[in-house]
Symmetry: C3
Subunit: 336 residues, 3 copies
């Protein structure tokens, strides 16, 4: 099936394909930059091997390749592929399944089917959501992974590892000192890709800074404020220490403060409320999904961000066009 998309990719060669892959990694945190994506991959490989589970890193790469390739095979809009929008859900599938399931051959096959599915599920969900000026964010990843993680409970060929809530590799204290607090803050950023390593968090901040300093700042603020909210409200310390109250607020912060609203003080205030709300949503979903034995993944980020975008607030009413959408929003909405 020789299509326009495939012609384009063959024209472009291996280097072009690699660039698209790296952009896909970068788009997990809304960055189109291939360099950001490359540094994300470095962070993932570091964190996976440091935790003794290299399968996570290779899974990330496989998920990224499969989901991006699926966009070409299905001949979807070439501009989306160009921007890395086919790969960002797939790389997350590739991080999640080997973290949560035992790495059997069946897990790898399931990973490929799941990663591929995210590409058309994203397109389907965006078809629904476009009219409300929101997009599916990382929800295709969440939805497809939930299907396979739930199925794993009923299918012997897929077996759960200890859940994300207990995949601790380090002994953690019951209270956080200054060093502990900093580690927890950095882990929160790393957990966007399900990596439980503060070093990876540092790499991710640098990766964001390469593309957009504001995104690096809001990722940092998001993880810190999410964890602080959880701490103040008395959420389980082990969850906080592993960064599990950090990753969704990280994404909410980037999305609300730098992507969907024009950066200024009103959108900063709005994003701050969103980050705090995300921490409550995280606790709520931890509880809601507990009977099902699956992780929330980035669902708290998706749900909160939708609730904060759907009102279509005019935060910048002094502005000529009376909307406060970020200048790149139209582009983002059509592309993602």
């Amino acid at each position: 099936m020789k299509t326009d998309s495939m012609t384009t990719i063959f024209d472009r060669g291996v280097f072009g394909f690699l660039k698209i892959l790296m952009r896909g990694a970068g788009q997990v945190m809304f960055q189109r930059s291939a360099w950001t994506g490359l540094l994300f991959m470095v962070g993932i490989f570091w964190g996976a091997y440091a935790a003794g589970n290299g399968a996570v890193a290779w899974g990330a790469l496989l998920g990224l390749v499969v989901s991006t390739a699926t966009g070409f095979v299905l001949n979807l809009r070439a501009e989306d592929g160009e921007d890395g929008l086919w790969g960002f859900n797939g790389i997350l599938v590739g991080c999640a399944l080997p973290t949560l399931l035992h790495p059997t051959i069946w897990m790898w096959l399931a990973l490929m089917l799941c990663a591929a599915a995210t590409t058309w599920v994203r397109r389907g969900l965006n078809n629904i959501m476009r009219q409300w000026k929101i997009n599916s964010l990382t929800f295709p990843f969440v939805l497809c992974c939930w299907v396979f993680l739930l199925a794993a409970h009923d299918m012997d060929a897929l077996t759960s590892q200890a859940s994300i809530h207990h995949h601790a590799h380090h002994h953690l204290p019951h209270t956080l000192g200054v060093v502990g607090a900093i580690e927890c803050w950095l882990r929160g950023i790393a957990q966007v890709f399900l990596i439980d390593s503060w070093v990876t968090g540092v790499i991710f901040i640098i990766a964001l800074g390469v593309s957009n300093c504001r995104a690096a700042v809001w990722a940092s603020l998001g993880s810190a404020l999410g964890a602080a909210t959880a701490l103040v409200m008395g959420a389980p310390m082990s969850d906080i220490a592993h960064g599990l109250y950090g990753f969704s607020p990280t994404l909410t912060g980037i999305a609300l403060a730098t992507v969907f609203y024009r950066p200024e003080w009103r959108s900063a205030a709005w994003a701050t409320v969103g980050i705090i709300f995300t921490a409550f949503f995280q606790a709520a979903m931890n509880r809601a999904l507990a009977p099902l034995g699956i992780a929330t993944l980035t669902a708290p980020f998706c749900f909160t961000t939708w609730l904060f975008l759907l009102p279509m607030l005019r935060l910048n009413d002094d502005h000529p066009d009376h909307t406060s959408w970020h200048s790149s929003l139209k582009q983002h909405l059509s592309k993602r």
Copy 2:
């Protein structure tokens, strides 16, 4: 941030703001009348203090103020605020959280965030639903409260009181006599605001009558028929006796028979089926939410009413415009 809305409110003065607050209370049962709202507040204060939990009444007031103020701060459509449509979800949050959670300082902070969130969540959900000619009803209250009630299970700073299903303060018999049946019917109406008092039920009926006699009649029919359906089908007697099978049918009755369809015999028949259906939905959701340890709140009302509005039936086919929408519907749809 001086905005049009805020100008308006400052022009209007304290009395104008109070009027808007009372309309917000009234809109819980679809009444724009400030007098109705004032009587609702009286009923709430009576019921809360009679049950020895005055926090519920002050919570209702706080939730009402915060959610209404949020509409001004976010500079939402002034007409909505004028009609009390910013406050009706917030007052319900203010009744629910102090009923279901211990009144710590953190509960009060959560209540304020939750009540504020209902205002923009309502606007967001209405943006989605407008095209199907439905609106979000009290679902913003339900959704936001669920988040905080679920989170309370995981956050030590928020702790559950005995659930709504067991907040009995009175000894109840296993069978209902005539007096018991009347009390249960009146409690059903009071439970719209989570108040477990038959006296409050009487006050609420009077409050509705002040604004719209038909609404008073259908609230009464709704609670009675909901409880009767539950009784016949063998739902738990303690739930029925506390009015827990009455509050959602009460709202369904008012909504279908007096708000969204023009009152006549066909819409009366339709509302009657809706009320019976709501009782089954209530039982279903009691069961569905049991593993999560949260109350259904008014979700059975919302879901049933949507299912009975979405078909957009032409109940009055003899009427010139071939729709049976209530004359005030267009107004309601745009406003709520």
Copy 3:
């Protein structure tokens, strides 16, 4: 209430009404043919009496009549009734409730209310979904049955039989021989109507063949491939043997390969992926609904088919109109 629809039906007489009923049975598997529907009824009666539960067959007939009659009473679009689109959810309700609940008088009343509700719920959901070029499929049946099955846990007048997962009437081996595999494959097709009989599966294939050979082939492929996927992935053998991994993939196969996309190799490949995905969705939902004690019914088919239709892929890019929608799609979308 003399309406156009009712005029039509009285003009048509009993025979015309019977034809509409049989088309309703046929539409469960997307066939407008009354002969197909008649053979489906034969298969249901055979299977129900062979299993010693004749109530299922009579329930199917009652659900079919009630839901079809509801369309007339509510005066819905006459063309839909003509095509049997009012009855297909109702007949499934009529199969499901007597299979899952004890046949008391209350069950029969609940069945009638539930079957009637599917007719307007279908119209409501289609009003929502039309804009995305999907329709509600059998989800009105699923949704309404879930309400009543959940309610049955809380209402003494409705009591559960052993759940669908354990309504075994035969001793089953732990491994499947050739005969066992064939029986399991045929049962998968019969289970579309919740019938656990391989003979009924044979009758259903013949019934499909009468109307559309392609549908018969894809039903067979769907059940076989769904069961095979479940077998390979290690799903519980008893579920597989009773055909519980066959019925949703059967419907997915018919829907994707013969109804919504023009039949050719690309849509065949797409339907094959869809069938495999449905098997994972079935396992996932088995697990997700286990805490609630209700069956998945045909929800895995609905969700998967939506996920495979929503992307609106252009599978036939060589075709002039650049869509691969089946020629009958427009008709199907407006009608169903």
